[in-house]
Symmetry: C2
Subunit: 358 residues, 2 copies
Amino acid sequence: MRKELEHLMLSPIEWHMAADGPVVRMLDQSRLPHEVVWIDCRDHQTVAKGIKELWVRGAPAIGIAAAMGVALGVQPIRATHYEEFARQLKPIRDTLAATRPTAVNLFWALNRMNNVVQHHKGQPVETIKSILIKEAQAIHEEDVQRNRAMGDHGAELIRSGDAILTHCNTGALATGGHGTALGVIFTAWENGKQVKVFVDETRPVLQGARLTMWELQQNKIPATLITDSMAGAFMKKGVIRLCLVGADRIAANGDTANKIGTYSVAVLAKAHKIPFYVTAPTSTIDFSIANGDKIPIEERNPDEVTNVFGKVRIAPNNVDVANPAFDVTPAKYITGIITEAGIFKPGELKRKLGGKKT
Amino acid sequence: MRKELEHLMLSPIEWHMAADGPVVRMLDQSRLPHEVVWIDCRDHQTVAKGIKELWVRGAPAIGIAAAMGVALGVQPIRATHYEEFARQLKPIRDTLAATRPTAVNLFWALNRMNNVVQHHKGQPVETIKSILIKEAQAIHEEDVQRNRAMGDHGAELIRSGDAILTHCNTGALATGGHGTALGVIFTAWENGKQVKVFVDETRPVLQGARLTMWELQQNKIPATLITDSMAGAFMKKGVIRLCLVGADRIAANGDTANKIGTYSVAVLAKAHKIPFYVTAPTSTIDFSIANGDKIPIEERNPDEVTNVFGKVRIAPNNVDVANPAFDVTPAKYITGIITEAGIFKPGELKRKLGGKKT
C-alpha cells in the first residue's frame, strides 16, 4: 500500500527566475502554521536575514539557503577579472557565514560554492555566475535525493504499530524536501507501515508544535503533541518504541549537536532502554572536530523564551534568561546515525566515512 | 546576615470578614505576573471554580482553599438539627472534592473539616459553623508553620554558592505562605546563603516562568529562567548542584506525583549524580496507597498546551494533544523528602511517619 503524500513535494526554499531577475523564494516558517507566506529574497542580505530570523531553519535547509544566497549575491557583481570577482564575493560569503554558528551544513555549503569558484578560475565571470546558480540548485536536488536515501535506510528500523518520539522539526520544511528524521517516518508511512508519532513541542521556538505537527497533519499521519516535559512520562508508560531526531553538527566521534532538549530526550531514552537514532546527511558530520565539546553553541535572543511568537510575554520583565539553541548529545547515548550512506554506530563514523571528502 | 523578605508575608488565599459577610479572597494566579488581581469568593462554588481554573494552585494552597470553601459554603445553611446540617454539607464537600484529583492535600483538608463536624455533633449548628471557620484558619496557619519548619530542615542541605534547579512553583503562592521547595531556598537566603536558582518554565501552564520567577524577583534572589528542555544541558555543564521540587501526592513507598516534567528532571539528576529532593508537608503523604501506580493523574484541557494564556495558538487546529498535569517519580530517583518533621529517605516514610495520623 503506497499512500498519497502530495505534501512531500513541498520544498521550503526555491530558486526562481522572475521577470525582473532571480529570486530565492522562502516559505516564512516563523509564521507557520497560521499563515503560509512566501518571501522573495532579491539580494543575499535578505537571505541572510531569513536564516537569522528563522524564516528558513533546519541544518540542511540552511545549507541550501546559504548556497542560493551566494548564487543570488554574485549576480550584480560587475567584475571583468576573476580577482575582482573573488574580492566582491568575500563579503557576501561572510554575511551568510555570520548568520548561525552551529549547523555545519551552512559552512559546508559555503565551502562547496567557494570550491566551485576556485575550480573555474579561468572562466569568464558571467560563466562562473551561471555555474554558481547551477551548483546551488544541485545542492538542493542532492539534498532531496539524500533524504530519500536516508528514508529508505531508516524505514528498515520501523515496524508497523510503532510509536515514535521526535523533537523539533526535521521534515520537508527543514531540508530541501522530504526531511531527515521525519523523512524516515514519511518513508515508513509511504511503505504502508502504520506508525504513530509523539511530537515534542520544542520550546522555545516551538518547531515541533508548529511545523512537525503541521507536516504530519498534512500527510494524515497519526500524531500527538506533547510538551517537552512530558517525553519522560510517556517513555515510562512504555508507549514509545523509538526516538528519531536530526542533527545540526556531528563531531568525528559521533557526539551530536541538535536542537536544545535533544540531550534530555537521549538520556531519558537510555534510562528506558529505547533506541535513539540521529538522522542526518553525511554533510552534517564535521570530521575536523574530535568531539562535541568543540561545537560552538548559538545563544539566541532571550525574547524567544519570554515572548511566545513575540505576542505573549510569559515571564516578569527584566528577568535573566538562558537561551542556548542547541545542546550536545554524547555518542554513548546514540544507538545509531542514519545517513544517505547507511546506518552507522557513532564509533564507526571516522573509520567508515572519515576518509571521504564530505 | 538576615535579609529583608517582605514578600514572604504574602499569602495567596485569605479568609476575610467583609461588611456583607465572609469571603475567601484569592490572588488570581492565572493572571500573574502581568496583573495582580484578587478575587473575592462569596460562595463555595466560586472557590471550586478558582481551584479548577488555577486561580489558586499548588497542593498545600489547594488544601487551604478547600477548607475555606467548606467554611464558606456552610454559612448560609439554615438547619436546626445536626442531621440536616450534615445533609446540606455533603454536596458542598462533593463540589470541592471534584475539582482536582491528584493533590492529596485537597482530600486531607476536606477530611479534616469533616472530622471536626463529626466531633462537634452535639453542638448547635451555629457553633459548628464558627468552629469550621476557625479550623480553616488553623489549617492555613499550620501550613505556614510547617513551611517554615521545612525551610529550616531543608536549608541545611544548601551551601552558599549553590545553584539549585527547581520545577513549577512551590513558593508562597503555592501554599499558605513561604512555600515548600522554594521555601527552602527562601530560608537559605534569609540565613545569608548566596544561592542562584535555575527555574524551569514548566510548560504548559508556565508556573515556573510566571510565578517562581516573579517570587524570586520580588525577593531579589538571583534566578535564570530556562525552558524545561534545557535542564539536562545545564546539568551536563556541571552548573547545578541540587534539584528541589514539591509534591502533589507521595505514596507510602515514596513514589511522588508532582507537576508534569518532574520525572524527567529526576532521571536527568540521577544521570548527572545531582541530589534530587522533594519538599512537602507530611499531609502530602498518602499512606493508603502503596506506590505511585495508584495515584490518579489529572488530564487537563488540551487548550493549555495549544493556546498560551488562551491568547496565542501554537499548533495547527484539530491536532491530538496529551495534557497530563502530573507525572510520578519513582522513589529510587529521590534522594530525600524534606518534611516539617525532618528529612527522610523515601524508604523511611512508612516506618518513621506511617504510624502517625497525618
